[in-house]
């Protein structure tokens, strides 16, 4: 019974996929007016998660980055679980001659610099393991304060402490506004947990079937979203 059900669902998904291809074709050819003017004011930082098997297709990644550059996105973070993109970093930077690597020290300048596209490369070690390293830094501070002023039971670590320690450890990038997942399933695959608390997560299908139209559509949908930050 389950097999029949899944067969029916596969047909349904196939039809849906065809509809999406048609739609993205329409978008890229500029026929749908609402997608023409994209307001990128809200999109300060974009992150892309790629499944590790697909991350080997460096040409596709470069094509995607070129599309993003054409759209006007300035700051991108590339993530894959195993660090494959980090290894192909040199190849990617070579092809994208207008891109520079994201550096912590330039953070203040990066938001003003409109000429270059900044790229950040991250992998699993920048997520959970970075938190463990940051915990060791905080631990050192904790020992120092505990010895000088006796036992303290109240909360001594705040979110600010954590952010600062993560930055000191080397994985303190800004929080992405939008996360695009290119892979078989909609899952963030271990992207640094500290940075995605309010990030919109959108699944784009697999990398080899990526389309310019879907990209535009996702960014457009993002600009229409209203967030309640609870402030």
């Amino acid at each position: 019974l389950w097999c029949i059900l899944h067969f029916i669902i596969s047909i349904w998904c196939f039809l849906f996929e065809i509809a999406r291809v048609v739609e993205s074709y329409l978008i890229s050819s500029g026929l749908l007016k609402s997608y023409k003017a994209l307001d990128l004011g809200k999109l300060n930082y974009l992150a892309i998660v790629v499944g590790s098997e697909e991350a080997y297709q460096t040409a596709k990644v470069i094509e995607l980055l070129e599309w993003l550059e054409a759209i006007g996105v300035k700051h991108v973070c590339l993530y894959d679980m195993e660090g494959v993109l980090k290894k192909s970093r040199e190849a990617i930077l070579e092809k994208m001659n207008n891109a520079i690597v994201f550096q912590e020290a330039d953070e203040r300048n990066k938001l003003l610099d409109q000429q270059h596209m900044t790229l950040e490369f991250a992998s699993y070690s920048d997520g959970k393991e970075a938190v463990a390293k940051a915990a060791n830094l905080l631990f050192a501070q904790y020992l120092k304060s505990a010895n000088s002023s006796g036992d303290q039971e109240e909360r001594i670590f705040t979110e600010l402490h954590m952010t600062e320690s993560l930055r000191a450890v080397g994985s303190g990038g800004p929080e992405p506004d939008l996360l695009l997942v290119y892979g078989p399933a909609r899952c963030h695959l271990g992207f640094p947990a500290w940075r995605i608390r309010y990030t919109e997560i959108i699944h784009m299908g697999s990398l080899k079937s990526m389309r310019y139209g879907s990209l535009i559509k996702s960014i457009y949908k993002f600009t229409m979203v209203r967030q309640n930050y609870g402030k």
């Binding site: 389950w2 059900l5 899944h6 669902i9 997520g127 959970k128 393991e129 938190v131 463990a132 940051a134 915990a135 060791n136 905080l138 631990f139 050192a140 904790y142 020992l143 120092k144 505990a146 010895n147 909360r155 001594i156 670590f157 705040t158 979110e159 402490h161 954590m162 078989p184 399933a185 909609r186 899952c187 963030h188 695959l189 271990g190 947990a193 500290w194 995605i196 608390r197 309010y198 990030t199 919109e200 997560i201 959108i202 979203v225 967030q227």
Partner: protein, 220 residues
């Protein structure tokens, strides 16, 4: 709650006033407290081994604790030595060698023994610096497993599916740590309207990507 008190097949966890940020910070803090008590146990066991006092004080350092000289005398020479030792102690973290006769935390030495003690302790200390760096590596550091053990959600396994109602695509600070390998679904229905068919659809989608996630879990 009384109606379900005798159920034992499934467990429902309700998170009230919960954020992932808070959970992560709390886990780190608990790990720190546990590690500190481990260090204190280690130190108390070392004290009973009769190590030379100067070396013992150095071994307590993990590079950032500066011990005040206990029972300081009025002699400004001692104070100067204490100042040097405080500065030098802070730099042990960077594994730099101390210059000169700086001594940390000598307890109850009287003035006429100072010079002998200083030179003796200096030799011990130079050996103790290397020893303390070795001990630094032996001192307990916080590992990923320690942090995960102290999470609020360690009572439950990692989720297989995460369903977000109201059509939003965000996690909004919920279970950011635990959803590494878990598909996230957003339904446009709002929470009170959630029905059986929504769940069936979510499970069917999960089954389609099940193979992929099993492969991922085996890789880890």
């Amino acid at each position: 709650m009384a109606a379900t008190a005798n159920n034992n097949k499934t467990l429902l966890l309700i998170c009230v006033a919960y954020t992932s940020y808070d959970e992560i910070i709390h886990a780190v803090q608990e790990s720190c407290k546990v590690k500190r008590s481990e260090i204190e146990e280690l130190n108390s066991s070392k004290a009973s081994n009769g190590v030379a006092e100067g070396v013992e004080e150095v071994s307590k350092l993990n590079g950032i604790i500066a011990h005040d000289v206990q029972g300081p005398s009025e002699n400004s020479f001692h104070k100067f030595q204490a100042l040097n030792s405080n500065r030098a102690c802070n730099s042990v973290k960077g594994v730099e060698n101390k210059n000169g006769p700086s001594v940390c935390g000598i307890q109850g030495f009287c003035a006429d023994k100072w010079v002998d003690a200083a030179s003796g302790a200096c030799n011990c200390l130079n050996g103790g610096v290397e020893e303390s760096t070795n001990k630094q590596q032996v001192l307990p550091t916080i590992k990923l497993l320690d942090v995960e053990k102290h999470m609020y959600m360690s009572v439950a396994p990692e989720p297989d599916i995460l369903i977000r109602t109201s059509g939003e695509n965000r996690l909004s600070n919920f279970l950011l740590w635990q959803t590494t390998n878990c598909p996230l679904y957003s339904l446009t229905a709002l929470w009170p309207e959630l029905g059986l068919w929504h769940l069936v659809w979510a499970v069917l989608n999960y089954q389609r990507s099940h193979y992929y996630f099993e492969k991922k879990k085996k890789q880890l």
